[in-house]
């Protein structure tokens, strides 16, 4: 039963990894990375569900780890988005192409 959700988690990791590698836009990479992370969390959830015992629906320890993980993933995403917007503000571009000299007179303001 919960194996079905586990397989879904594995598929989500694959989808996220593909988007992370292939997508040229950094915001889409951040989004794909979140997808990958949620797939990993889902695998944790399945392991928790399998550990149901003592009248509890699921093992509480993996659940608590996932809650911590979701919050830390958000903090990482917020920092990544802020870095990306600052890159766009300074250089006018939002891609991860090869570094080129910044246009003259358009340095940090």
């Amino acid at each position: 039963m919960s194996a079905l959700f586990g397989l879904a988690g594995a598929a989500l990791v694959g989808l996220g990894l593909y988007g992370l590698i292939v997508h040229p836009e950094p915001l889409r990479k951040i989004l794909a990375f979140n997808l990958l992370g949620s797939g990993v969390f889902l695998l944790f959830g399945v392991i928790a569900r399998r550990g149901a015992a003592a009248g509890m629906g699921a093992d509480p320890i993996p659940q608590a780890l996932v809650i911590t993980g979701i919050v830390v993933a958000f903090a990482g995403s917020a920092l990544a988005v802020a870095l990306l917007l600052r890159l766009h503000q300074i250089s006018g571009r939002a891609d991860l192409g090869a570094d080129s000299a910044p246009p003259a007179g358009n340095g940090p303001t």
Partner: protein, 312 residues
Amino acid sequence: MTLAFDAILIATVLAVAGWTIAARETFAAVIGFVAYGLLLALVWVRLAAPDVALTEAAIGGGVTGVLLLGGAARLRGVVAAPDAWPAATLRLAAAALSATVAAALAAVVLLLPDPAPTLAPEALASLPATGLGNPVNGVLMAYRALDTLHEKVVLVLALIGVWSLAADRAWGGIPGQRRPTRRDDALVFLARLLPPVGIVIGVYLLWAGADEPGGAFQGGALLAAMWLLAMMAGLVTLPAVSSRWLRLALVAGPALFLAIGLAGFVIADAFLAYPEAWAKPLIIVIEIALVLSIAATLGLLVAGPPEQAPPR
């Protein structure tokens, strides 16, 4: 019946996830991601993890969604050049690698040991000593309190990282761009209607978290969402990040947590240990301070680095 529901739910989750990768428009992909977060919350309910479901809906879908939407709005019109896409061979290789990783994980899922190892009986057996009724909260606030403390510090560090991206003229200033003067009446109406309800529910989640699903994270995320709503409608202006009371609110939770943790050396027998008679009051005091810090930190992380000069 439930098998059919689960199958449909999983198919929908995977379809929406595929959409967030495949969609041409970044904005559409982000909308898809918000829907994905809410659907994933349903999956967590099906996995008998309502605490995680609340967190996923509030933070994974909600607050992360607002963050990515804000980023997509600022980057509107910035489209990757067609030649920025990797060549077909590289994409094929990436697809093969991703499929291999997914297949390996699927094999792990199918080969998990049976019966599954579990710490649920141990977690439940020690729960009376903490005075809590929700074992997940027991793990977060007592057994693995060190993780939770670290996580709070990570949140504050991430915020310091975001603030340090401010331009020189906005250093220590007010986060976010100046709001447009055009009032969006529907948004203002919602921002007046929802926060009183949302704040009550947020405080309830914090309070009920001791015995029922909920807790400081979920309550804090909801309070942050209400703050963001009022912020976006222009009903509240953000304080400058150099303001002392704001910084105090940000560190109050982690600092109190750390102080009580250190006091554990004296009043109990270890770092982050609580004396048994005082466990529940101490945990509740920590959670109240944490919920304020979490709400402030999450809201400010979404608001981004300071962009307006501080008031003189």
